[in-house]
Each structure stands twice: as structure tokens, then as C-alpha cells.
């Protein structure tokens, strides 16, 4: 169907009191950046609602993009006609005709007269429109409860909106409206989901990824960048800080406390991420921890590890089951990338029996025994390379083009 307009409802941000305006402006800015690839479309705001005049752009394509925008509750493609009875009937009939309902489809009309000077009441309109529609489409069956087609008619002074579909948006808060956090992004399944969950609550997320070249392949780095690229699809762009972690990591393998390696590593990662957070103006760290999943995610470990930073650590997945996390990963499009089999620094040098109950004093003593640990952390931050990814970024890490497109 050729729709005229998209009608968009905001989510829970409408509950905000005096900050509401700021939230709405943020989401509008995001919508406008997405609409830049649909040049004919124009936005129009109204209290509690946003309209997009399509001016010929494809409603399905535009709404597919809008469905990724946080803060939008639902989207309805709409036909617009002048607020005159015969025009409303005609447009409604043409609307149903284009839906080509099958025999026995259930149906009802729900009219709403917002413009009170329109001569027919909402109730009258249900009949005035329903009768001619039923006459033309005898295959329709009236049903008041859960009809398959609910023809909604909203009569306003400047025009009447006719629609039936309500497409659910992702909801949440507008991008970046709740401050910034640093996401510790590995190549696994969990951390991208944690990133998405944070973004959905309005966090601006910057990613921190630790790599241990030459023990890990460029492929592992490429995989993480691809993951970040998927996340950037939800906000337009995402920053990734790539931290060289080889020296720090190998220094832990020499202290003779193999079962503590993971604890030591995680603490150093948090310290580096905290330094980057300070530099980037972020107020929290965001991780994919899920309680009890691995040795470093027992309560005892999280206690010892978490003490390495003063920043709050946000753990959106903390009570989730693995299969819940996998479901989200599949839904947001990170799962297939996450299961690619490349070693990253989290899976390197993993001891046979990492401790699930580390002792803070022992850990602190070991750290103190490593010469230059603090200097190594500083150096890692200094050597950190930052890239900005957008949904259309091309990722090729440290390698020449292998594919000659002429071959295909």
C-alpha cells in the first residue's frame, strides 16, 4: 500500500516530567539522522507524538529502520484524507481494498473524533464507515473482540488519519539520554547483549576491547569490530577503543599463581577501562557478567574484581539465563558473529582451575609483586587505538584485500 504518513508514539519517556522535552528532542534528532537516507520524508512533531510525512518514501522500509530507534513505542502507517465524510468513507474503502482481506476476515471500525466540530460523533462514524465497507467487502465479518483488521479512524481538524497496523518499536530511552558508559566488549555472546541493553536504557556506549597480538589473530579483532558495527545500527555510530593487552596479560603468567590469572586479568581490564572512562567522560563500566556463569562471575569473584574500580559497574545480564541472553543476541543480530571460533584474550592462558573464591589480600599482594604493573596499564591506555564504526563501515583489519569482486 502507498501510505502517506507514519504515526509514531513515544514510549515510557512520556512519563518524564520536566525532562520530557529533552528526551523528545534527543529522539527526534536520532529519527532525523535515520531519515537522512530517505530524503523525501519530513518530520512533524506534536505533543506526545511524532509524524513522518513519507512524500513517496516506502513505509515498510522507513519503519524497518525506525524499529531500531530506542524511545519509540510504536509505529503506524497511515493514509491521510480531508475530514469530510465521503472522503473518509472512500479512503477507508480503498484502504481495505489494498489489504485484500480473505474470506471470513474479522473486522471492526474504531473512529475517534478529536476535532469536536466534525458533525458526526465517534459512535456514529463507526456505523457510517462500517456499513459501506461491509457492503463492498462481503467477505468481512464484524467482530468487536480482537478483530484481524481494526480500521482506526482519527478525525482531526486538518485531516483524518486512517490506519490499522501498530508496529511495535524497541521502546526504552532515547540514545544517549542517560549518560555514558564504557562497555567491556569481548567476542563472546554476552557483552554485545549487555551493550545493547545499556543502549536501550538510554546509555551512550563506548566499547573497550582488549587484544593480545600476536597470540590472537587479526580475525578476532575484526570479529569484535563487526560486533560493534551491529551495535552501531541502533545508535548510528559507536566508538571502539582497542587496547593492546599482551604485556599486561603475559606478566600474570609469570607469577606462579595460575588459578588467579583470570582475577588479575579482569582487575587490570577494569583499571584500564576506568582510565579510559575518565578520559572519555564516562560515569560507569558496563559488562556482560551473568551471575555464576564462569569462575570470574561468582559473587566472591565479582567482589574482588569490582574493587579494582571506583566506578559503578552496570551488569544488565546479571540474573539472566544463558538461553535468554542467546535469544536477545539472535534478535539483535550479534549471535552468529559471536560464535565464530577465534581465540581472544579472555580465552587465552585460561588455567585448568581458575578460582571461584579469590582472596582480596592475596590478589593485592600478587599485584604489588609485579614490577611496573601500573606503568604497563598506563602504557596500554597510551597505545590504545580508537575507531568509530557506523552501520555501513567496511572492516578490514591489517590485511590486503583478498576478494576480487571481478571474480563474482
Amino acid at each position: 500500500m502507498k501510505y502517506d504518513m507514519l504515526m509514531i508514539r513515544y514510549g515510557e519517556l512520556t512519563l518524564k516530567g520536566k525532562n520530557r522535552g529533552r528526551f523528545e528532542r534527543t529522539v527526534l534528532k536520532h529519527v532525523e539522522s535515520v531519515l537522512s537516507s530517505f530524503p523525501a520524508a519530513q518530520t512533524q512533531t506534536e505533543y506526545g507524538r511524532l509524524y513522518i510525512m513519507l512524500n513517496g518514501e516506502d513505509a515498510a522500509k522507513v519503519s524497518a529502520e525506525l524499529k531500531k530507534i530506542f524511545g519509540l513505542h510504536s509505529i503506524s502507517p497511515v493514509l491521510v484524507c480531508p475530514s469530510e465524510l465521503d472522503q473518509i468513507i472512500e479512503t477507508s474503502t480503498s484502504f481495505i481494498r489494498q489489504l485484500a482481506p480473505a474470506e471470513g476476515t474479522t473486522f471492526k471500525v474504531t473512529a475517534r473524533r478529536v476535532w469536536k466540530r466534525f458533525p458526526h460523533s465517534s459512535h456514529e462514524m463507526n456505523h457510517l464507515v462500517g456499513a459501506p465497507v461491509l457492503q463492498e467487502f462481503p467477505q468481512l465479518k464484524i467482530s468487536m473482540k480482537q478483530p484481524e483488521i481494526e480500521l482506526r479512524i482519527e478525525i482531526r481538524e486538518h485531516g483524518t488519519y486512517i490506519y490499522s497496523e501498530v508496529i511495535h518499536g524497541v521502546g526504552g530511552f532515547p540514545r544517549g539520554s542517560n549518560g555514558k558508559a564504557m562497555l567491556l566488549l569481548s567476542g563472546g555472546i554476552d557483552s554485545p547483549v549487555a551493550g545493547y541493553s545499556g543502549m536501550r536504557r538510554g546509555l551512550e556506549v563506548e566499547c573497550v576491547h582488549f587484544f593480545s597480538y600476536p597470540f590472537t589473530s587479526p580475525k578476532a579483532k575484526e570479529k569484535v569490530l563487526e560486533l560493534a558495527k551491529v551495535l552501531s545500527g541502533y545508535t548510528g555510530s559507536v566508538k571502539v577503543h582497542l587496547v593492546p593487552f599482551t604485556d599486561v596479560q603475559t606478566s600474570f603468567t609469570t607469577v606462579g599463581q595460575d588459578n588467579l590469572i583470570i582475577t588479575l586479568m579482569r582487575r587490570s581490564m577494569l583499571r584500564i577501562a576506568t582510565k579510559l572512562a575518565e578520559r572519555q567522560g564516562a560515569l560507569a563500566l558496563l559488562t556482560g557478567d551473568s551471575l555464576g556463569q564462569v569462575a570470574s562471575q561468582t559473587l566472591q569473584s565479582m567482589n574482588v574484581i569490582g574493587r579494582a574500580t571506583d566506578l559503578p559497574i552496570l551488569r544488565p545480564l546479571i540474573t539472566m539465563d544463558k538461553n535468554e541472553i542467546v535469544d536477545i543476541a539472535q534478535k539483535i543480530g550479534t549471535y552468529d558473529l559471536s560464535i565464530l571460533p577465534y581465540e581472544d584474550c579472555c580465552t587465552l592462558f585460561v588455567p585448568k582451575s581458575p578460582t571461584t573464591n579469590p582472596n582480596l589480600h592475596v590478589v593485592e599482594r600478587v599485584e604489588a609483586s609485579i614490577p611496573n604493573l601500573e606503568a604497563m596499564l598506563e602504557e596500554a591506555v597510551k597505545q590504545t587505538e580508537t575507531v568509530v564504526l557506523r552501520p555501513d563501515s567496511v572492516i578490514e583489519v591489517d590485511r590486503e584485500e583478498t576478494i576480487d569482486e571481478n571474480w563474482f
Binding site: S217, K219, Y342, R399, T402, I403, D404, N406, W407, F408
Partner: protein, 384 residues
């Protein structure tokens, strides 16, 4: 020499040969290796799979790369039979299938499966109603070809798919698409196809490569054990240069389908018109068939004699399908269409492609004319 045996194999595109050589020279790594060379090889497979998927309007994960249609058909049929044996052991196919389908079904009969071979009409088409009544609750597989390789007959796949899925939505619907891709529109969704076989060397790609489309949600029991290539369905190191070259051939053939239909179809129409006005020849192909195959009988003369007589004039044609042409038996397909033994053992197949011109066809007609004139007095009444 003029080659009129495109249904058997086709001259590869120059670009395909070039691609094959380039990839073979540069990317000899094993895609399962985790070093750079391996990763590069794996990337090429991934891209090739995407291109193949795009040609069929399906997703890359629905593409299984194979060694060709024999493997594709065997995997489709036996893989389904083994996987879904607990649901039932009944298979429905037709009497005119390619040997790789037909023989696979006969083999399954030995293992306790029951196969219904449906008849065809005089034009080589199966009535969709036949499927509606043959498909039962315990039918696990229906296998039918898009275009017949001997006569060019086209099956009404939309109607068949509908009949099959209506009779038993769980029955896996396999289409052997070998002679159809690039020659006629391919609409897997409209056909309700679950499995679809292709071979690259029939569409000017390299031999030893093919595609089996497997709809998301269908599981096949692997026939080859070993590595986890092709999502575990088909073990064996991938033929990288072959698959890249195949992807190219699929793209090119797919893009040329419409041109193929008009241009090659025009040659076919002319050839058919000529055969129909030549008294001692019998046309076995329907004008509604595929644009590239014309099957003609010269009753009273063994197929091979006419074939060699045309060869003398520099025209290469074939008898039956290439896969069974060395067996001196009447054509199973023509017999199934109700032709006499005399017609079925005197048939030749002329198959064409976009490499043929009007002028080529004129030369073929001249050769046919003089061969027929010369052989006509030697015809034997009632020869089988």
C-alpha cells in the same frame, strides 16, 4: 564442428575460466585452516555462497555446495529418506526423472522404502492431481524435475507444490532444477520448494560443482562422513576455485535468463517448425517446453545412426541423456510419454544455448536435411 549438446554440458564462459585459474593460483589454502591463507579461502567460500544465494533469492545459510547434481539429488533424496524415516517411508516421484533421482529411488526401494512413480501425459507433463492423490500421510518426500533433460518438458511446479503441501504439509518437496536454471524463471517460494538441485556445468560453469538449496528448517542426513563442512551436511574440503567460478556462472546465467528465453526460444521455434514439416520425423518436444531442448525421432532408424550421420556434417547432437546414452535401450522418458518402441529408440536430442546464432541453425537444418534424405531409404519397418 558445431556443438548442439548443451543439455549434456555447456562451454564455460571465458570469465568463468579466468576466475577459476586466478583463484586456483592465488588461493590454494584449505578453508578449514585457521591461518591467513585458510581465512582467505573461507572468505571466498562465504562470498561465493552469498552470490549463489542471491541468484536464487534465498539466504546464504540455505545453500549447500556440492560436487554437482548427482550428489545434490542423492543428498536430497537419501538424506531426506534417512532423516525422516520415522515419519514414514513413502516417496513420490515421476517416471521421467533423471537417473540420479530415479536410481536413488530404486535403491531406497531395496531398503524398505516404497516409491510411487507417477505417469506423464503425451507432452511429458504430470497432472498435479496425480500428486494430490499419491501423497499420503506417510509420504516423506516428493521429487520432481523442473525441465526434463531429454524432451524439455516443463512441469507445472506451482500447482504441484500446492497439491503436495495440501495433501501433506510435512512432505519434503524436492525439485531437480538442473535443466531449468538460466533457461526459465526460478521461483522457489512460489513452488513451495524445500530442496532444489543445480549443477554448474549446465549453465556454463565448471564441472564438479553444484548447489543444493535446502530451505531453513529442513534437516538432511549427511551421506559423507568426515569434517564439518557445509554445516555438517557435506564433509570434504571445499572446491574453492570451482565454487567461486560457479557463483559467477550462476550470476551470469541468472541475469541472462530472459535473453535466453527469447533468443534461444526463437531458434527452437524455427527448428521445431522445420521438423514438423519434414514428413518422416516425429517431434517429441512440446512447443510449450523449455527454450533449449528439441527431441525428435526418426522412426525406423537407430538414434546412433542419425547422430553419426550428423557428426559427419560437423553437427554434434546426442541420443537420450548423456548419462544413459551409452546404454542401447529405448528412452525410458519417451516410453513413459506413450511413444512407441520404434520412436523411443530412434530419438535424438538437439540442445542449444546463447552461443548459437541463426546462421548456426541454418547449417544444422541443412545437415539434418541431407542426413534424413540419405538415411530415409535405409529405414526398416518395425525396427526397435
Amino acid at each position: 564442428m558445431l556443438y548442439w549438446d548443451h543439455a549434456a554440458s555447456t562451454p564455460p564462459y571465458d570469465e568463468v575460466i579466468q576466475t577459476m585459474a586466478d583463484v586456483m593460483r592465488k588461493h590454494y589454502g584449505n578453508p578449514s585452516s585457521i591461518h591467513r591463507m585458510g581465512e582467505d579461502a573461507a572468505k571466498l567460500i562465504k562470498r561465493a555462497r552469498e552470490v549463489c544465494a542471491a541468484s536464487l533469492h534465498v539466504t546464504p545459510s540455505e545453500i549447500i555446495l556440492t560436487s554437482g547434481a548427482t550428489e545434490g539429488n542423492n543428498l536430497a533424496i537419501k538424506g531426506t529418506a534417512l532423516q525422516y524415516a520415522s515419519r514414514g517411508k513413502h516417496i513420490v516421484t515421476t517416471r521421467i526423472e533423471h537417473p540420479s533421482v530415479y536410481e536413488s529411488c530404486l535403491e531406497l526401494e531395496k531398503y524398505g522404502y516404497e516409491v510411487t512413480f507417477l505417469p506423464v501425459d503425451a507432452n511429458g507433463r504430470v497432472n498435479p492431481d496425480e500428486f494430490a492423490s499419491a501423497v499420503r500421510k506417510d509420504t516423506i518426500l516428493v521429487s520432481v524435475m523442473h525441465v526434463n533433460n531429454e524432451t524439455g518438458a516443463v512441469q507445472p511446479l506451482v500447482e504441484i507444490g500446492e497439491a503436495v503441501k495440501k495433501a501433506n504439509p510435512l512432505a519434503v518437496f524436492h525439485i531437480d532444477g538442473v535443466q531449468g536454471f538460466g533457461k526459465l524463471p526460478v521461483q522457489l517460494k512460489e513452488w513451495k520448494a524445500d530442496l532444489y538441485t543445480l549443477s554448474a556445468h549446465k549453465i556454463r560453469g565448471p564441472k564438479g560443482t553444484g548447489v543444493l538449496y535446502k530451505r531453513e528448517g529442513i534437516t538432511l542426513h549427511p551421506l559423507l562422513s568426515g569434517g564439518k563442512q557445509e554445516a555438517g551436511v557435506r564433509a570434504g574440503t571445499e572446491n574453492i576455485p570451482g565454487f567461486v567460478a560457479m557463483a559467477k556462472a550462476m550470476r551470469m546465467a541468472g541475469e541472462q535468463t530472459e535473453t535466453f528465453m527469447t533468443e534461444v526460444g526463437a531458434l527452437r521455434d524455427e527448428l521445431m517448425a522445420w521438423i514438423q514439416k519434414t514428413p518422416c520425423l516425429e517431434l517429441n518436444s512440446s512447443p510449450k517446453g523449455a527454450p533449449h531442448i528439441v527431441n525428435v525421432s526418426f522412426p525406423g532408424m537407430k538414434s546412433e545412426v542419425l547422430l553419426h550421420s550428423l557428426e559427419e556434417h560437423g553437427m554434434l547432437v546426442s541420443t537420450k541423456s548423456a548419462c544413459s546414452s551409452k546404454i542401447a535401450e529405448p528412452s525410458r522418458v519417451l516410453l513413459a510419454m506413450g511413444r512407441s518402441e520404434a520412436s523411443a529408440s530412434s530419438a535424438i536430442r538437439i540442445s542449444m544455448g546463447l552461443t548459437h546464432s541463426r546462421e548456426d541453425l541454418r547449417r544444422l537444418l541443412a545437415a539434418l536435411e541431407s542426413a534424413v534424405k540419405r538415411l530415409e531409404p535405409l529405414r526398416q519397418e518395425g525396427l526397435n
